[in-house]
């Protein structure tokens, strides 16, 4: 019990000490907040982009444009046949009439289209393939191409592949940035704690003289690191929320051109807690490193 009370007292008194110097503490918290917040913002944005693209799930989408001569009935038969094929997840049949309606609705060329005496659009069978292996996929496609009812096959895969490559690159970039900034954060922490240790050199000497263990000497500095990390993480969360608020309008505008119902997702409570936990842990680790480096140097003399 005494041990718990001791920890409570030390943690509180280090916090009080931080608050006694509000400007200095605030600066440190802000620096830590920026170092933590920047990768957090990038991570959340990346997560959102992944969600949008994840709906396609990396599944290749193939459009089969049918010949003009094919009747609606024949087209439907074909699409049913394809549904049963291996490697096919989903098939959507869009008749020429439906396509025209949709095009009129979306493009705003409704009046122009109405002047045409004949629907220029073909029937389309949209196939969502589960097959990702390029060779098997090309076999499937060539099978469809050889069907006389099919005029042309278009695979809108390339841009998707490109998007995934970009996403992978961005993920790596964010990871690298996170690692670098976390290292920087630990250095900041180490430096801050080193200063605190230097300021309390006399106290450490006295504590050692009256029989204080290394653990006893270390404890307040670990708590100091903890409070710095925790406070910094709170600022990082603020930074994150404000940035998302600022970014949401343009990002949503962009994303809604792909999907109607897109809303920028925040980090959520789990994300907030993870960020705060990460900050606190990094704070403690950073200060532990600093303390272990300095503690042995300070001996009463």
């Amino acid at each position: 019990m005494a041990w718990i009370a001791h920890h409570q007292r030390i943690s509180l008194s280090t916090l009080v000490e931080l608050l006694k110097n509000p400007l200095g503490s605030l600066m440190t918290w802000l620096v830590i907040g920026i170092a933590l917040g920047l990768p957090a913002i990038l991570y959340v944005v990346l997560q959102n982009v992944s969600n949008v693209s994840g709906d396609w799930g990396g599944k290749p989408r193939v459009s089969l444009f049918l010949s003009e001569s094919v009747s609606v009935h024949d087209a439907q038969t074909l699409s049913q046949k394809i549904t049963l094929q291996a490697g096919v997840a989903q098939v959507r049949f869009i008749s020429a009439d439906d396509a025209l309606l949709e095009f009129q609705h979306r493009s705003g060329f409704g009046e122009v289209l109405r002047t045409l005496d004949k629907n220029p659009l073909p029937h389309v069978v949209e196939v969502m393939a589960t097959e990702k292996d390029p060779l098997n996929l090309s076999l499937l496609i060539s099978g469809w191409e050889s069907d006389p009812r099919v005029e042309r096959v278009s695979v809108d895969l390339q841009w998707l592949e490109r998007l995934f490559a970009i996403l992978l690159f961005a993920e790596r970039l964010v990871t690298a940035l996170t690692v670098v900034l976390c290292l920087g954060l630990m250095l900041i922490m180490g430096n801050t704690i080193s200063l605190a240790i230097e300021n309390r050199r006399q106290e450490i000497e006295v504590v050692k003289l009256v029989g204080g263990t290394d653990g006893f000497v270390r404890r307040p500095f670990l708590y100091l690191g903890f409070w710095y990390g925790l406070g910094g993480a709170v600022f990082a969360c603020l930074l994150l929320e404000i940035s998302l608020l600022f970014l949401s309008a343009p990002v949503e505008l962009l994303a809604q051109s792909y999907r109607d119902d897109f809303v920028l997702q925040g980090p959520g409570w789990a994300g907030i807690f993870a960020l705060i936990g990460l900050g606190s842990v990094l704070g403690v680790i950073g200060s532990a490193l600093a303390v272990s480096r300095h503690l042995a140097d300070i001996e009463p003399s």
Partner: protein, 220 residues
């Protein structure tokens, strides 16, 4: 309580600070350690509280051979020795109560026990009404008594004092010495380093005399 067995201490690049020092301080004994500045008084004290290690010979304190004490075990040895410093070594950002409480906090006593013992120690040194004061607000003599209270609050079997009356006028010196006498009467072994020879004469206790690192009087 303290046993020096042919102890020498040489600092790097200088002659022996202590050479071939042997003596015994019995349990419950009180003795003085005298000698000019630089005769080795401080070095001898530092060896006892493990601020320095002997170059040769053995120092045995309270049954522990200090040669065999590892760095991690040093705190445990120091907790059994109360030390009064010439420059007090008080923490100026803490009040009197917290200064005296430090050894108990380190040893993990409960707050209630800490409060009880600190008040007892402060009352013994006559500073009961000053527990909320900060060291800067105290006179030199009062600061020294806070240092003494901190040294004995843990009830250590051995009390060391390095020039405890160095900065005090004769009247205050006598008060401080009376405190040491009282602690000795209740069974604490006391070793006091001082160059106040008049005081030593008045107290009529064993006197260990150091000269240029050698013990030249009071070996037995």
């Amino acid at each position: 309580m303290i046993r020096f067995d042919d102890v020498s201490k040489r600092y790097e690049g200088s002659s022996d600070a202590l050479s071939h020092v042997s003596f015994d301080l019995a349990d419950g004994e009180m003795a003085f350690l005298t000698g000019h500045s630089g005769a080795g008084k401080s070095t001898l004290m530092k060896l006892i509280i493990l601020m320095e290690r002997a170059s040769r010979g053995q120092v045995i304190v309270n049954g522990t051979n200090l040669n065999r004490v590892t760095r991690r075990q040093i705190p445990a040895v120091r907790r059994d020795i109360g030390v009064v410093f010439q420059n007090h070594q008080l923490l100026f950002d803490r009040n009197v109560f917290d200064n005296v409480a430090l050894p108990l906090t380190i040893a993990g006593f409960s707050p209630r026990e800490v409060g009880r013992r600190v008040r007892a120690a402060l009352s013994k040194v006559g500073l009961s009404d000053k527990e909320k004061k900060f060291p800067v607000a105290l006179s030199g003599g009062e600061q020294q008594r806070v240092g003494i209270a901190r040294a004995v609050v843990n009830k250590p079997p051995l009390l060391l004092a390095d020039e405890p009356t160095g900065n005090l006028d004769p009247e205050l010196s006598t008060e401080v010495m009376d405190l040491f006498l009282w602690f000795n009467q209740v069974g604490v072994s006391v070793l006091i380093a001082t160059h106040d020879l008049d005081l030593v004469k008045r107290m009529a206790r064993r006197e260990l005399v150091l000269r240029q690192g050698q013990l030249v009087g009071g070996e037995d």
